[in-house]
């Protein structure tokens, strides 16, 4: 195998890497917002049972304060952040077969890959968003409320833009991690760059393809960092 052939194979893998990267971001960034909304839900269906918080039995008070939607989302976020992404990819990909004996089509692997990445990253983004939203002074929503903004207007016009600015640094961290995490696709033997590099390396007993792949990841991330810094700077006009 000439160097040129190896390079072209790696580059085609890089295309897949970029595809996984892009699809994951496109879906997980907004999905994270929905997960965040669930995680911050104040819905307490039994609140009405508590007539007087001071003298009511302890269990009734606890029941009144229970927030089931928040609890469910907290639980799933904990699982997604507390177990290896690699394991999650395997579960999404092969779980349907083992659980329901569904026959998996050949294109399923790629879908499973994207679903696994999107769900995992949306959990991380949700927690970043939540921290960002909670760091915004309540006076902002109160000012909006007294000016007559609806809840949706308050969120999209006042809270969200400020949240984006505040969460940009931690989101950048996640995006950079994602570039490297795409290599986990090898567990589902999806032909992205790292999988291909490993295969060539094993077949030809050479380390070169892995080093080249490493270089590609590095350049990819340098570009990501550059773009994110540009975005950050574009929001520097206010504090």
């Amino acid at each position: 195998m000439t160097f040129g052939v190896m390079l072209s194979q790696l580059l085609s893998g890089l295309g897949q890497t970029c595809l996984i990267f892009a699809l994951t971001l496109i879906f997980s960034l907004p999905l994270g917002l929905a997960v965040c909304a669930g995680r911050m839900s104040k819905f307490a269906p039994f609140g009405k049972l508590v007539k007087n918080k001071k003298d009511c039995p302890k269990f009734l008070k606890a029941l009144g304060e229970a927030k089931p939607i928040r609890a469910i989302f907290s639980f799933f976020i904990a699982i997604l952040r507390g177990t290896p992404l690699m394991l999650q990819l395997l579960v999404v990909c092969y779980g349907p077969y083992y659980l329901f004996k569904v026959n998996l089509s050949s294109s399923w692997k790629f879908f499973a890959l994207i679903i696994g990445f999107v769900i995992n990253y949306s959990a991380y983004f949700a927690e970043i968003y939540r921290a960002g939203i909670e760091s915004i002074p309540v006076g902002q929503s109160e000012a909006a409320q007294t000016l007559g903004y609806s809840k949706a207007q308050t969120f999209f016009k006042i809270i969200l833009p400020q949240m984006v600015k505040r969460t940009l640094p931690p989101v950048t961290n996640e995006v950079i991690t994602l570039v490297k995490d795409t290599s986990l696709a090898f567990v589902l033997t999806h032909d992205e760059m790292f999988t291909i590099a490993k295969r060539i390396s094993a077949a030809k007993t050479t380390f070169t393809p892995l080093l080249i792949a490493g270089l590609f990841y590095f350049v990819f991330n340098a570009i990501v960092a550059f773009v994110m810094t540009k975005i950050e700077n574009s929001m520097k006009y206010y504090e």
Partner: protein, 258 residues
């Protein structure tokens, strides 16, 4: 009820978490053009009163009306019941609130802070809203700051923008919660000047303040609160120069000592 009545609060009680009774039995009526000064020691419930009146905090018991329209009343169980969303939205357009720490929107320019709510809440045409905002900025002495961002302004300028933002909604009544407390003494004067001017223009206002001489000068009526009740209320000069209750006397002496 007189036709000129803007705000009426009746027998307001506020209990936090069913145990901390912060407002005990507050009744307050504000007529058009009236300036009411609310004074009292820290923790007496002044902010909570304003927050209840501006719908930021739910009342526990009692009634609230704006311009004769009831928006909160006592239900069968004696607890406050709120009107439907639409009525509340309409009520919100009747009042404006100026906060101690301004709460300007940092990502909007001064101009956008002033026109965004009129355009997207009241549905006013953008060009009209801009005209009005420019007028307000001129009145506040901030014509050159239309394109600035809040972070580029001094505290006094921020507060003047916040007042302009509230005025841009054309409210019937303005509430102020210690509008000068976050400001250096030199900057306090410029805010008091603006409020004084509004008073001359017969703007209806309720002002929570620790500036006793200012309250005496600008307010028609003073409400003195302590421990969640209105201890004294009446004409500003009577109340401050001739306090009737021990509590009020003590409060004024304490302030004098500072």
């Amino acid at each position: 009820m007189s036709e000129n009545n803007i705000l009426k609060i009746e027998n307001l009680r506020k209990v936090f978490d069913d145990e901390l009774e912060v407002l005990k039995d507050i009744s307050l009526s504000v007529d058009r053009g009236e300036v009411v000064g609310v004074i009292g020691p820290s923790g007496s419930g002044k902010s909570t009163l304003l927050r209840c009146a501006t719908l930021l905090t739910d009342m526990t018991c009692g009634e609230l009306s704006y311009m004769g329209e009831k928006i909160v009343w006592n239900g069968a169980d004696g607890r406050s019941v709120y009107a439907d969303k639409k009525t509340l939205k309409k009520a919100r357009s009747k009042f404006g609130l100026v906060f101690q720490n301004f709460n300007l929107f940092p990502h909007y320019s001064v101009m956008k802070n002033l026109i965004d709510a009129p355009v997207s809440v009241l549905g006013i045409e953008k060009s009209k809203a801009k005209e009005k905002a420019a007028e307000l900025l001129e009145k506040m002495g901030l014509s050159d700051k239309a394109d600035a961002y809040p972070c580029q302004l001094s505290g006094g300028q921020k507060q003047r923008v916040a007042i302009a933002r509230a005025l841009a909604m054309d409210p019937e009544i303005l509430f102020f919660d210690e509008p000068t407390s976050a400001l250096d003494p030199e900057l306090t004067g410029e805010i008091l000047k603006v409020i004084r001017q509004l008073a001359q223009e017969k703007m209806t206002m309720v002002i929570v303040t620790h500036e006793m001489s200012f309250a005496r000068e600008v307010a028609d009526k003073i409400v003195f609160m302590d421990g969640g009740v209105i201890v004294e209320q009446g004409a500003a000069k009577d109340i401050i120069d001739n306090p009737q209750t021990e509590r009020m006397k003590r409060f004024l002496t304490k302030l004098g000592e500072k």
